[in-house]
């Protein structure tokens, strides 16, 4: 079994009900990992974050420091990854 460390930020933390967790898996992609993460409403994180196979534009997933593109959810996990899930906040102000 391999494992990955999950850090859930913002609304993804609230969906999951936890902020940090280590999960075990065998031969999994990021999409598989999301499907295994049950949310408090009885669904999975995949259901909330993914639309038609692609990561929704208002969420981000960072694996070992690199942000995944919307169509990179089939990225295989090797074990030992640090996976961060978060909602994108767009109104941070500036100028």
């Amino acid at each position: 079994m391999a494992n990955a460390n999950i850090a859930a930020l913002g609304s993804t933390r609230k969906l999951l009900g936890f902020s940090r967790r280590t999960v075990e898996f065998e031969r999994a992609t990021v999409a598989d990992l999301l499907r295994d993460l049950k949310t408090l409403d009885g669904r999975t994180l995949y259901d909330h974050l993914v639309c038609e196979g692609k990561l929704r534009g208002d969420f981000a997933i960072v694996v070992d420091g690199l942000s995944l593109g919307a169509d990179q959810l089939d990225k295989p996990l090797q074990g030992g990854e640090e996976v961060v899930t978060m909602a994108i906040l767009r109104h941070l102000h500036g100028g």
Partner: protein
């Protein structure tokens, strides 16, 4: 009158503590002499390569902020329910507990009802990492135009061209520097103290400076040549020079344009790139005499110029499109717009291209680069206009004509912070445009969520001035809620927003206003609760913002015990978040904006309350590793180093930078459809253009309605933003300078109007009017009236700035026709009528 005798203090007395300046946004390295717990002297830190031991007047005067007798050093509660300009709030000191509980109760109520009802003005640039606080509160609203005044169009264009945030010419290698509406190296903009030293060194080795400015600014006074120009027409001057290079001299860097930009990409009649069957942008293959994918033909065979026909379609290269546009921008035509003689436009264009040494190379640290020691530098005065996108694009493209973008001697991008340029591959071998670097662009939405309509400006920055339109006409803009509360954090919207009367009307509608600040300002007078923050000499921060020559953080740290009962702004924001139940989201926001998500071992625990020291220690370790923690910075002061040539020159490698901004044009097409779909057929999108050209702005059109003169404002190194006017050392100096003594007017104009220095005059624009005393000076264009920002404090409970009058921003307006329709950029010039007032 009693006098106080003081003995000089030896420089060796006490200790010199390293820290960073907080008198503007850039944070020069400083050393503060502290004797017996009292800060006595501030000097530049010579070990910091950013400012090289130099310090501007503001930095030298920092102690007069720390020890200012009018500072607010206890939480205050308003006891006078009446609010208005000049109305005394009748402050009463209260405990932090009462202050916090009041704010948490009032804002908490708003948050429970609809968090969008909170308007926020955040102005502490050095703490830009904290600007997301309103977002985790739930408010999308940005109620200020402070940054938009300067960077509304500037930053999006920089980010779209080369992934930079700002830009400045190469002090080290440039030999011919055209300065347009900017104080870089002389009085303002990027890291003044170090830049002034670098500019002085460059002048000593012979660099020539030509300054275009309506006023004989510090840069103009020190330049080899000052070219007075009508405000807002700088672009016309540069378009005229571009015409000279392309059409008359036929001297431009063909190799750079062909190989390093998208200028050779073919464009169809509708303005889009011509795509091949493989979906790739096409270039014209001169050997095959046919279109070919951009990456399938040797560079030498690609045509930079030309109009071609293929399958019945007319195709032009991007370069050719601009060349054709430039044919109607002759020096004579542009002279009529700018008032600059055509022969001057031609001469400077020739001097520029001569100095650029097209084709030359230079070896730096074993690597050969193109060498283009001539560049055009610009900032607020030349591009903070309602066609600001065109202005910025023109200056970039003119630099590109000589191939000087991001090469030694040329015009260099400056990153936002230590993370460097935003670099990622885009379409067709191009660098991906990054117009938004402070936050992701919100998707289009109607009705909008934000009162400044951020959802309607996908390539723009936060156009705070639009609040004066939207909040007073919410139905017109589809806003289905009305703000009820305001958080002001070291900002002064009443000073920095156009149309002060409207801002007052908006603020009068607020049921609750809380301010976090150091001192009383125009805006804090309207607050119900005043939360006093610590100065930069009493607080922590790791600072790295827009450094032109270096990279790395310097530590701001307390050099003395805090005065009074004040709190670090980080503590205040965290306490409020905790009391309102969203500290977990606040910590997660910091995890995102500080980059901790890329290094999860440093992620903040959402449930833990961090002290400023703990937070900055984590930040330091996340960037520099475990050894360079906060203790290391306390001792060493900074980790600032020069940027390497690889970080400075063409850091995007072989990716092409856009010459033809098809991205802008395409975005405009998409926005047109979206506006049409929701019935906003009249909403303008005309500034979403791939290439710049001259068109009259509304300001120029206003001249047809009897507003004969142009009014501008300006600032110099003595002052910044809204709060230095109350500092005695600075106001004493500026009050003695005639430039800051009144409303500047040219002698010829004064004679024509029968005015003399000291006469009371009224300036009236289409938006409002102001009064002031005429100050007749030679150093201003005859069609222009100048108002120093020193004068523009209109009311405050602080007696030192009270009634200084001549509040320039009353002449401006936040109306859309004075706003860049693509970027939201603010028009900073007004047309005015002048009349004498009988006293």
């Amino acid at each position: 009158m009693a006098t106080m005798q003081t003995a000089p203090v030896s420089p060796s007395a006490g200790k010199w503590i390293p820290s960073t300046c907080g008198m503007c946004l850039h944070g020069c390295g400083i050393l503060v002499q502290v004797v017996d717990g009292v800060a006595l002297k501030i000097e530049g830190d010579p070990s910091n390569p950013d400012n090289l031991g130099k310090l501007c007047p503001k930095g030298n005067a920092g102690l007069s902020r720390l020890y200012d007798s009018t500072r607010v050093v206890h939480p205050l509660k308003r006891t006078n329910p009446k609010k208005g300009p000049g109305v005394d709030p009748q402050w009463k000191e209260i405990s932090w507990e009462e202050a916090y509980s009041t704010v948490a109760r009032e804002l908490g109520r708003i948050r429970a009802e609809d968090p969008r009802k909170l308007l926020c003005s955040l102005g502490d640039f050095q703490r830009i990492l904290f600007w997301g606080w309103p977002a985790v509160f739930g408010s999308p609203n940005f109620f200020t135009s402070l940054g938009n005044y300067c960077g509304g169009s500037y930053h999006p264009v920089n980010g779209s061209i080369d992934g930079s945030f700002a830009a400045v010419n190469d002090y080290e290698y440039c030999n011919y520097w055209i300065q347009i509406g900017s104080g870089d190296g002389f009085s303002a903009h990027l890291h003044l103290s170090g830049s002034a030293k670098r500019m002085a060194d460059a002048r000593m080795r012979g660099m020539k400076v030509v300054s275009l400015d309506p006023r004989c600014s510090i840069a103009s006074a020190k330049a080899d040549e000052w070219v007075p120009i009508v405000p807002g027409t700088d672009r016309a001057f540069v378009l005229g020079m571009a015409h000279v290079l392309v059409h008359e001299l036929k001297r431009f860097d063909r190799e750079f344009l062909r190989d390093r930009t998208n200028a050779p990409y073919l464009v169809t009649e509708d303005g889009n790139f011509y795509k091949g069957a493989d979906g790739k942008a096409q270039v014209w293959d001169t050997r095959a005499n046919a279109p070919c994918s951009w990456d399938a033909v040797p560079a030498a065979d690609i045509s930079l110029q030309g109009t071609f026909t293929h399958h019945g379609r007319e195709l032009r290269t991007g370069f050719q499109v601009w060349k054709d546009m430039l044919s109607s921008h002759t020096p004579e035509q542009m002279s009529e717009v700018t008032t600059v003689p055509a022969q001057t436009i031609r001469r400077i264009a020739r001097e520029f291209v001569d100095a650029a040494q097209i084709g030359a190379t230079i070896e730096i640290e074993g690597k050969t680069y193109p060498f283009r020691p001539a560049a055009l530098n610009y900032y607020r005065g030349s591009q903070s206009h309602s066609n600001g996108l065109f202005d910025n694009l023109t200056y970039k493209l003119f630099n590109m004509l000589v191939g000087n973008i991001d090469v030694p001697g040329g015009h260099l991008g400056v990153p936002l912070d230590h993370r460097g340029f935003f670099i990622s591959p885009g379409e067709d071998g191009q660098l991906k445009p990054e117009p938004h670097q402070l936050h992701p662009a919100p998707p289009f939405k109607y009705p909008p969520d934000s009162t400044h309509l951020m959802e309607w400006f996908p390539i723009g920055f936060d156009a705070g001035q639009l609040n004066t339109e939207t909040l007073l006409n919410p139905q017109k803009y589809g806003l289905n809620y009305e703000p009820e509360a305001m958080l002001i954090y070291h900002a002064n919207p009443l000073w920095n927003m156009p149309e002060t009367d409207k801002v007052e009307e908006i603020m009068a509608r607020m049921k609750f206003v809380v301010t976090i600040d150091i001192q009383h300002t125009d805006s804090t007078e309207w607050a119900d609760i005043f939360l006093p923050a610590r100065t930069y000499l009493e607080s922590y921060l790791l600072n790295c913002l827009e450094p032109p020559a270096v990279t790395g953080h310097a530590l701001r740290q307390p050099v003395v015990e805090p005065i009074g009962d004040t709190r670090d702004a980080f503590d205040i924001l965290t306490e409020l978040a905790q009391r309102m139940g969203f500290m977990d989201d606040w910590n997660d926001l910091l995890n995102m904006v500080c980059g901790f998500v890329a290094k999860p071992k440093y992620l903040l625990d959402p449930q833990k309350r961090y002290t400023p020291e703990e937070f900055w220690d984590i930040y330091a370790r996340s960037v520099y590793g475990e050894e360079k923690n906060l203790e290391w910075f306390k001792e060493h002061g900074h980790a600032v180093r020069y940027r390497t040539p690889e970080e400075t020159y063409m850091p995007y490698g072989s990716l092409r930078i856009p010459f033809y901004l098809e991205f802008f044009k395409r975005t405009g097409d998409e926005m047109r459809k979206k506006f049409d779909e929701v019935g906003l057929q009249d909403w303008p999108v005309d500034n979403y253009q791939a290439l710049p050209f001259w068109k009259n702005s509304q300001v120029i059109e206003d001249g047809k309605n009897g507003y004969e003169y142009y009014a501008i404002t300006f600032k110099e190194s003595l002052h910044t933003f809204a709060d230095t006017m109350v500092m005695p050392w600075l106001s004493e100096v500026s009050d003695k300078d005639p430039v800051h003594g009144g409303v500047l007017i040219n002698p010829a104009t004064a004679r024509k109007l029968g005015l003399e220095s000291g006469d009371r005059i009224r300036l009236t624009s289409p938006a409002g009017s102001i009064e002031g005393n005429a100050q007749v000076v030679e150093g201003i264009h005859p069609q222009v009236i100048g108002v120093s920002n020193t004068l523009t404090r209109y009311v405050s409970t602080n007696h030192r700035s009270k009634d200084r009058g001549t509040h320039f921003n009353r002449l401006l307006t936040g109306a859309m026709k004075y706003t860049d329709s693509a970027t939201g950029g603010l028009e900073s010039t007004a047309r005015v009528k002048i009349e004498r007032i009988a006293v």
